[in-house]
Symmetry: C2
DNA sequence: TATTGTTATACTCTATAACTATA
DNA sequence: TATAGTTATAGAGTATAACAATA
């Protein structure tokens, strides 16, 4: 259970802004929005384990870059729906591509099948945890 | 490649000091020392992706708790070998046991076999990355 | 001169609490 | 009154650089 955070640190250490194309925090958030377009800010906070206040700052950065836009929810005008833009989608694709060499570096010990298995297991675990978050 | 850091955050968020028995950072370091008794401080810095200066502070805390001790290397008196104490070993065991409920929580979506597979893959990946670090 | 560990300092990230607007 | 988002501030964690001891 300590292995996961340790491996994560190795990934973060290597995922420099220069390589990924944006600060790694932003990439993580944008990647989530890529898969969950239109979520509310609070859902983002739960999924990324971040404070709601920091989500605001993070979204400001992404908005300045033109990667997302905030849309007021007509059904409840207090809420914002966060939408990823085309530029945002392209940035995610570029970042994913650039990150592949890090994956090769980190997962040297595993062959292609094993990597596939690892991602499938992680994806299922993350999805379940996301769904469990109190979405209101 | 963003899944791992995201899952790691969920783990860290839930691994409160109250539950684990010590700050999570300390547990990660102590767990590494449990498996690599007698390493030098620089190796620790590489393995944990931390600055050498912060390792000093972290080890000070662990030493104050009586979980580790620093021993000068007779072969090269500049170096410190970091040794885990019996109290340290016991603390790791307790923390691992306490953390099991977090594992259940995070890995709900996976059955016992799948969890086993996941740990085996992660262990191999981490070992390889550790060995690759410039140990001098 | 180069390296190991230490110390002091500055910086980033994160968490806490008060504020605005909508419900 | 309660909730979603914002803002401002304080705190924890992290990195940077200078220092002492040893090689």
């Amino acid at each position: 259970m300590v292995l996961l955070p340790r491996l994560a640190k190795h990934i973060m250490r290597r995922s420099t802004e220069e390589l990924v194309g944006m600060p790694f925090r932003l990439f993580i958030a944008l990647s989530y929005l890529h898969d969950h377009d239109g979520v509310r800010q609070q859902q983002l906070a739960d999924a990324l384990c971040m404070d709601a206040g920091n989500i605001v700052l993070l979204l400001n950065e992404l908005e300045d870059l033109g990667y997302i836009s905030r849309i007021r929810d007509p059904a409840d005008r207090r809420r914002h729906k966060v939408a990823i833009t085309n530029a945002g989608r392209e940035a995610v694709e570029r970042a994913k591509h650039n990150q592949e060499q890090i994956e090769d570096d980190i997962l040297q010990a595993l062959d292609a099948d094993e990597r596939d298995t690892l991602w499938r297991l992680l994806t299922r675990a993350v999805r379940r945890v996301d769904d469990d978050e109190p979405t209101t």
